[in-house]
Structure formats: C-alpha cells, structure tokens
C-alpha cells in the first residue's frame, strides 16, 4: 500500500454556475429563515427561489448557446478532476429539472386555497392535535423552509445527472433524497398520514442508498477507481463474468431503480405519494424521476456500457413488470393520489423501454443513439407537465377546506367546473398517450427508439401495456364527467385558487398541448443536445 499524494482538483466554475446558483440560493434561503422578520419572510423566500431558479435556467441556456458557438471549449470537458461532467445532455436535463422545479416552487406558494396559509404545516415539530399545533395555526404561522429544502433537493438532482464518478453519484443521490424525506412529512392536514409517509420513505430510501453504496464499493473493488471512464475501460478488458462486477451492477441497479420507482422496488411510491403534501408529491414524482433516469442513463450507458448484454435483458424484464403491475394495480384503486402514484409507476416502466432499447450504448457511434436519449428526455418533459398539472388539480378538489382524494367523491366535478375539468381531461389524456397531447408524442418517440434499437418485442409489450394504462385514466374521466354526485359528497367542490396555482395550471396546460400539437422545435432541440453525446464517452 503506497498512499499517493493528492492533487488539487481544477474547478471550472463557469460550467458549474447553474448548479452553484441553486445551491447558493438554497443556503441563502436558510439564512433568510433565520434573519428575516416573520412578516416579509414568506414573500422573500418565494422571490428568492423563483429568481434563483430563473437565473439557473438562464445560465444553463447561456452555457448552451456559448457551447454551441464554440465559446466554451472544450464543451464536453470533465471538471472537478473528471468527477463531474457538463455536456449538452446534462445541460438539457438541468434546464428541464430547473424548469419543473420552478413550476413546483410556484405551486408551493399557493395560499388562497388554505385561507391565507400554505399546504404545509405551520409547525412541523408540534405533535398533531396538541395545543402547540393549534396555537401555531391560530397565530397564522407559515412554513417557508420548504423552499430552501426544494432547492437543496434540486441541487442534488443537478449533481446526480452530471455525475461522472460513482461517489459523486452517491452524494448527489443523498442530497436529492434527504430534503425530500423531510418535505414528505410537512402536510398541513392529515399529519399522521404525512408523518408515516415520511418514515416509510426515509427507512426504505436509506436502505436503498445503503444497497446502492454497497454496489458502488463492489464496482470500486472491481475497477480500482470511481471514475466512469476507468470503470468502463475495466469492463471492456474483462470477460464480463467477474463476480465483483456482477454484484456491483446488480446492487447499483437496485438503488437507481428504487429512486425511479420501478417494480419490484416500487412499494414506497403509492404510500409516500398519498401521504406527502400534494405539491411535494408533484415535485418528487416529476423531478426525482427525471434526475434518477438521467443518472441511470449515464451510469449504464457510459460506465457499464460494456455490460449491456447482461443488463439489457434484466432491465427489459423490470420494464415489462413495472408497466404491467403499475397499470393493473392502478385499475382498482379508490384514491386519486394513489391512482396517479401507480400511473407514475407505469410511466417509469415506459421510460425504461427506450433505456433498454438503445443498443448503441457501447460505441456511441451508430445511428439511432441520439434518437434514444432525445426521446427519453422528451417523454420526461411531457410526463412532467401532465403529472404536475394533474396533481395541481388534485389540490383544488376540496370539501370543507380539505383535499378530497376519494375517487367516488369526484363524481361530476368536471361538469360543474368546466375549466378545471377540461384541464384535468387534457392532463389525463396526455398521461394516457392520446394523440394531440405531449404524452402521445413522447410515447411514440420512446417506443420508436426502442424499436430501432432492436427491442421491437419490448416496444410491442409496452404498447399493449399502454393500452391497459389508458383504462386508468378513462376511469377517472368517466367519474369526473359522466357520473352524478352522490348525495353525501354534495359539498365536494372545486376551490378557486390564487394566482400561483393558476400560473402552474396554465404552464402545464400549454406545455401538454404544445408538446402534442407542435413537438418539432422541442424534439429538435433535445435531438441536438443528445447528438453531442459522442465525445462524452471519453
């Protein structure tokens, strides 16, 4: 054992600016929480988060433009001693993540629905039902820590998708997860359920991280390095049956699939999605999935690309299982949030289809590779708009100031409130993959990519699965529009939200329809992002 000396890493701060902005604004948010007086605190937090995320999106776009015109060179440079990679696919994912993060944060700011309060508990540490809690509620305390927490989580997601090193991947995964555990437990109403969701999410998430970390340790033992490039070259020089490599691949895969919410690692999804405050649910169902898919893509494409004959059949099996289990269990759920949770499980399966189908992983040179990454990104964007929109509508259907998530209580809601009803209709049709919505184009692109990649049978299974999944959404639409309300649920009503929620709904609505009616520009943009992948294989 000869300890080698450390060399100071070179940090290219310029390329890291969007990530540093998000992290910096999150830290600033903690200071705001401590030092700004109570009255202007909430507004300060909202403004800080919105401005910070807008700045992050702006700088990401600026890096993109400068990179395309060759001002930043080399564009696909690895920074921080090669542990972090900022290349066009990463920039595209950053833009998508920060964009949906911004929409979610705007949604967090809704106060009119709760008569002046937010969807979050005024005092998370107070025992539910105690005098401390009711006192905090009467005093009109407002919880604003959720904004820095969301930004910390977003910073972890940004790190996760740009990781080029197994250890950075693990750190990103943890920075992503830890704030989310807390955020799941902050619901204003039904706090016991929310706390239980936080506990379940925490225990299962911590175990998944430990399993992932053990896999990282095996891969380190196999390759003698954490760097993706070194792991990739070690894989190339091995016959592919090294037990260390196989164990590492399996355990790391379990950790990532847990975050994506794929079957059989999905058991936390419905419980956590149901128990967490609905704005947080929409945030984590979209952003976590995007980040985990991004991390999985680079890990499996770049580091373990040489092992694809091992992991492709396994991942194909997971994809089929995820689609079928998600779609079938969703059919007999009675709670709207659980239906959307199982729907998001099914969508995790659909996303895995093009991940498996991209056989051009190893050499990165064959045609069709770009199509795969671009179609996955497009699918995630379409899914994100529809999912955030649907969960936002869930926050509006209320009875006596509480959200009503029982599907039978939703009877006739769509007819009584045509605007909200129509928006929900569009979101659900997009999730179902009906033409003229973003979901259809996303599914088409994703399955076509899998087909081109040689996994035509998987694409066929996925199409069959998406037909089953259509029934989930048709059922909700049928209840919303074609069933008369029961007498005892007569007081269920759509509450009129404040401006923040309207902005979220409008953005999601325009995004969902826009991606369906004119997908060309976005698809071209993502295509040009993915076309750069080749040098990043390094």
């Amino acid at each position: 054992m000869t300890p080698t000396s450390f060399t100071a890493p070179t940090l290219d701060y310029l390329l890291l600016v969007p990530f540093l902005i998000v992290l910096g604004v999150a830290c600033l948010g903690v200071l705001v929480e401590a030092f700004v007086p109570r009255a202007p605190r909430f507004a300060t937090q909202v403004a800080l988060a919105v401005v910070g995320l807008a700045a992050a999106i702006g700088t990401t776009a600026w890096l993109w433009v400068d990179g395309k015109s060759g001002l930043i060179d080399p564009f696909s440079s690895t920074i921080v001693s090669g542990t972090v990679l900022v290349d066009p696919p990463v920039l595209a994912m950053w833009a998508i993540l920060f964009g949906f993060g911004l929409i979610s944060v705007i949604g967090f700011a809704e106060r009119r629905l709760h008569s002046g309060a937010t969807a979050f508990t005024p005092m998370a540490a107070a025992i539910p039902g105690s005098t401390a809690e009711s006192g905090a509620r009467e005093a009109g305390l407002v919880h604003s820590e959720v904004f820095p927490l969301a930004l910390f989580s977003l910073a972890g997601m940004a790190l996760l998708v740009s990781a080029n090193d197994l250890l950075v991947l693990f750190v990103g995964l943890e920075i992503l997860s830890l704030p989310l555990y807390v955020m799941s437990g902050l619901a204003r109403h039904r706090r016991l359920v929310s706390q239980e969701a936080a506990l379940k999410y925490f225990l299962l998430g911590a175990a998944a991280s430990a399993i992932f970390l053990f896999g990282v340790a095996f891969l380190f033992g196999f390759a003698g390095s954490f760097s993706y490039d070194r792991v990739a070259s070690a894989v190339t020089f091995t016959a592919g049956s090294d037990p260390l490599l196989l164990a590492g691949l399996g355990l790391v895969g379990v950790g990532m699939l847990f975050k994506i919410g794929a079957v059989p690692f999905h058991s936390w999804v419905p419980d956590v999605y149901q128990g967490a405050p609905t704005p947080v649910t929409s945030f984590m169902s979209v952003c976590t999935k995007i980040a985990a898919v991004g991390g999985l893509l680079r890990l499996f494409y770049v580091a373990l690309g040489g092992m694809r004959w091992t992991w492709q059949p396994l991942l194909a099996g997971v994809a089929i299982l995820t689609i079928v289990v998600g779609a079938i269990i969703a059919i007999n759920q009675a709670d709207v949030k659980r239906i959307l949770a199982y729907s998001s499980i099914a969508h995790a399966g659909f996303i895995l289809v093009p991940v498996v189908g991209a056989v051009t992983v190893g050499n990165m040179l064959v045609d069709g590779q770009a199509g795969s990454v671009a179609s996955i990104l497009f699918y995630l964007v379409a899914y994100g708009f529809a999912t955030i929109g649907a969960f936002t509508v869930v926050t509006l259907v209320r009875s006596q100031g509480h959200e009503v998530t029982d599907l039978s209580a939703w009877a006739g809601v769509g007819r009584r409130h045509p605007v909200i009803g129509f928006a929900m209709l569009v979101f659900l049709l997009s999730l179902a993959g009906i033409p003229l919505t973003g979901g259809f184009v996303g599914k088409f692109a994703a399955f076509a990519a899998a087909w081109r990649g040689g996994y035509w049978w998987l694409a066929l299974v996925a199409i069959a699965g998406s037909l089953i999944a259509v029934y989930i959404y048709i059922r909700v639409i049928q209840v919303m529009f074609f069933r008369a309300p029961e007498s005892d649920s007569a007081e269920v009503d759509v509450a009129l939200p404040g401006g923040a929620t309207w902005i979220v709904l409008a953005l999601c609505f325009v995004g969902t329809l826009g991606l369906g009616l004119a997908p060309g520009p976005v698809l071209d943009l993502l295509q040009s992002a993915a076309a750069f992948v080749i040098p990043s294989a390094g």
């Binding site: 250890l167 706390q195 911590a206 053990f214 003698g224």
Partner: protein, 98 residues
C-alpha cells in the same frame, strides 16, 4: 487478505439487510441501515488497500458525512413519529396500506 475483509463486509451487510427486513422497531431498522453503510465503508477501505490508492478511504469519509446527515434527518422523523404515536413500531403505522 482483501477477500477476508470482503467476506466480513458481506456478512455485516447481510446481517443489516436481514435485520432491516425482519425487525419491527423503527430505531432498530435504522441501526440496521447504519450497519449496511458501515459494511460498505469496510469494503471501501479494504479495496483501497488492495489497489494501493487512497480513493476508497476518502470515500469512507464521504459516507460518514452522508450517514451523519442521514442520522439527523432520520432521528428527527422517528422522534416526531414516536411523540405523536407513543411508539416507534412500524407495525403501528397502519394508516397507509401498501
């Protein structure tokens, strides 16, 4: 020599995983997760010595920091639960049925 450490790490990890699956107290489950993290740490250090590089030992420090952060979050959630329910058994958490 490395293989002995690796075997010990796998045994520790398995004990943690089995404990995670069979125990019913949130605190004990959490301790089992910590055992799994420490098994990974042992593996990092063992492989680090095997390859003659420091990366694995640095990784162990990263893991310790992350584990400390996880303890803070986890214990606060468990304390919150135990105060509102007077119990830390995961069997009592029956509001959400998976």
């Amino acid at each position: 020599m490395t293989s002995l450490y690796a075997i010990l790490a796998v045994i520790l990890f398995t004990i943690g995983l089995v404990g995670f699956l069979v125990r019913r107290n949130a605190l004990v489950i959490f301790m089992c997760v910590e055992l799994m993290l420490n098994a990974a740490n042992l593996l990092f250090v063992a492989f680090s010595s095997h390859w003659g590089i420091l990366d694995g030992q640095v990784a162990a420090f990263f893991v310790m920091v992350v584990a400390a952060a996880e303890v803070v979050i986890g214990l606060s959630i468990i304390v919150m639960i135990s105060r509102s329910r007077r119990s830390t058994s995961v069997d009592n958490e029956i509001v959400l049925k998976g």
